[in-house]
Symmetry: C2
Subunit: 422 residues, 2 copies
């Protein structure tokens, strides 16, 4: 049976009703108090299946000359190739089925291999080779363009032709839960005689999905959209924290730099592209028609429901946005095809940010910049307080899931709390 089959069930209690049923099997890197070596695991219900243990017990075929599971990142697993991605997932699926006694009835092995999630410390799942951030929600680009450059210049002429993106900073990608320190930077308000160097006053989020590239390409070679789709190992939630005041002063003419270099948070779990197959949908109609190298046939978007929660220090949670990944104008596959179009080498571990995922109406915007319309329309939180941008002590959590027929593919969450500037 295919690992995506909706009728599959696991013997792991509660898995079916969680975001991590047997149809999901997302990968992460974890360690425990009793074994501090980071290794690769798979989420199933409230447990992490320790793949290093499974491999060492001979229950997993070797995918490469070296172990791909007793590793501090998913990169070795990804580098083993797309064929082995499927084989490994199939093995894990079989091992966790309700009707397979091998692990189910081996109490000693189960105790070793199934680690309660509450006792797993999650690490950055990917050794990020390059971090590239796109800008592919038409609604977001229009909103931001309107605020930064006025309504007439909102959507630059190139936007409908190019999946616009820029290189981000790989060294600052952190795993969910890592505190985010408010950055200092150069800020110059329109009425300032000169810039000042001060903590950001317009600290923001960006609700995004991150795609993880699982293949290497040679410098000078390119990818079709279909090949680019096949190069995606999986997806994770991504929050591209942004200091709007630093960004606004620095970004002309070479783009965002220190305004986005202090932290980019990603989820601890990478949901495989294979698990998301049933949720592929067509994106918005593209008009003008893309140039040949960006033409795509069929469904290359994904129906992933997303929400953003904000909890003020010690306060009550408010869902400040509900959006969906399906509305992106440019698909991830198109982004990657464009990325490689100059002959740019793609690398195992490249992280591709989708760009902020804003929907058509205010409740679906993916940044505070848009939600508070440049700070002019504060949003109200459940505890009665208001926000334009983030305050110290605020915690922001992004969650996402795909709704299947009787099951949910959870993307987990990406969360971070703002700590004061140094």
């Amino acid at each position: 049976m295919h690992p995506n089959d909706p009728s599959l069930r696991s013997f792991v209690e509660g898995a079916s009703d969680s975001g991590f049923p047997i149809q999901n099997l997302p990968y992460g890197v974890f360690s425990t108090a009793s074994d501090s070596r980071p290794r690769v695991g798979v989420a199933i219900g409230d447990y992490v299946l320790d793949l290093a243990v499974i491999e060492e017990c001979g229950l997993m075929p070797r995918m490469a000359a070296q172990t791909v599971f007793r590793q501090s990142s998913l990169n070795a697993l990804m580098a083993s190739g797309g064929y082995s991605w499927s084989i490994v997932r199939k093995h894990i699926s079989q091992l966790l089925r309700h009707d397979n006694p091998k692990l189910r009835d081996d109490a000693v092995l189960r105790k070793r291999a199934l680690v309660p999630m509450s006792s797993a410390r999650m690490h950055l799942p990917v050794a990020v080779s390059g971090y590239t951030d796109f800008y592919s929600s038409r609604e977001h680009a229009t909103n931001v363009g309107t605020m930064f450059r006025g309504k007439d210049a909102a959507l630059n002429e190139n936007w409908l032709w190019i999946p616009i993106g820029y290189n981000g900073r790989a060294s600052t990608v952190v795993v969910s839960g890592t505190p985010v320190r408010r950055p200092k930077g150069q800020i110059k308000g329109p009425d300032f005689p000169a810039p000042i160097h001060a903590p950001s006053r317009r600290l923001d989020i960006e609700l995004e999905m991150g795609a993880v590239v699982g293949v290497n390409t040679a410098l000078g070679s390119t990818l079709t959209v279909e090949q680019a789709q096949g190069a995606i190992f999986g997806f994770t939630l991504l929050n591209d924290w942004s200091a709007r005041d630093i960004q606004q002063w620095e970004y002309v003419p070479l783009g965002p730099f220190q305004g986005k270099a202090f932290a980019t948070s990603i989820g601890a779990w990478v949901v495989t592209a294979e698990a998301l197959e049933p949720f592929r949908v067509e994106g918005p109609r593209q008009e003008p028609a893309p140039l040949d190298y960006l033409k795509q046939a069929g469904a290359h978007n994904f129906d992933i429901s997303l929400e953003v929660e904000l909890i003020p220090g010690g306060g009550a949670p408010t869902i400040i946005s509900r959006s969906n990944f399906r509305g992106m104008y440019w698909s991830t596959a198109q982004q990657i095809a464009h990325h490689a179009s100059s002959g740019c080498a793609m690398r195992v571990g490249d992280l591709i940010g989708s760009g902020t995922i804003s929907g058509p109406d205010k409740g679906s915007y993916g940044s505070l910049l848009e939600l508070s319309w440049g700070g002019k329309e504060p949003i109200r939180l459940a505890d009665g307080s208001t926000r334009t941008f983030l305050e110290d002590g605020d915690r922001v959590t992004i969650r996402g899931f795909c709704q299947g027929d009787g099951y949910r593919i959870g993307l987990g969450e990406v969360t971070g709390e703002i700590t004061p500037a140094a």
Copy 2:
């Protein structure tokens, strides 16, 4: 005696009259026909001193738990720390002195450890963690700004306050000698109804220096300008190949992307910051005075003479530009201090491009864009042909050196030949 002492001489014949005298000792990574394992070497005259062999013969103290020399990049050596950078250089200097018989009189060891440069295959010296490109020549920024945005908007308001830079693509950094394939990309001339996807027609060079960062900093921490200076392991020549037509259509609002993602060439030799100490000079006066976090006392520029040679396929060489690194408005130390100012983590192996090094007059411009003034004023080559931008078969070589008292510190060269689009 300090390794920089001008009176030092090496027993290696011809070293004193070359760009690689005993005062230089630049690091590279090489392999040979008889030993294909890349390892770390030092250039001395026309030879490469094999540091892996030197270490394995017990002539070099261990700098770390693991060997830092039998490695395919300089990263392990750099990660061993600034103190060991000096110790290692001192040891090498002593070993190569004319009055030290240890290596000089050991014919067997000399044959093993001193490899003729002509039989060494050079590799990319650094595993590039991140590639960041700045834009710090006032003359270049003014020239390009004038052509792209008109004279009045040439130097954007932020330029005199911020060392403007952007994240480049680390995966496309290649070692000198690697052919450069003409990229394809989206191009839209002002009179085109829609963009086309075609080989670049405005393929260009950028004469730059690359600084290699040799330390890791923690996310959330910053660097003073002095600390940033100390974080530089060394410098190498850099050619930031650029497709101007692709760049012009894509760069608003998020900066250069595919127009600079197809190749960035660096020299095979990294000259240490220590060897360049005698050539520190003050840069141009900075007015307005930089904000406190960018204030620097004393000399943070380097007096490095640079030239660019163009050889058409099968033709004669022409020096198309002569410039000097000393004229840069923002110093490398200021660039790195700014880079870390948001709390951005710096990594061993980060490559920091200076930005195109243009001087005040036409013969000193660092790009064809400027030399041919946007293609309007073709330059004449020695063989009578003309160029606006690069043609297939053109070879471009950048060379550089510092003139000492009776010796020269050579930066070597960075060269690349243009091959036709795929």
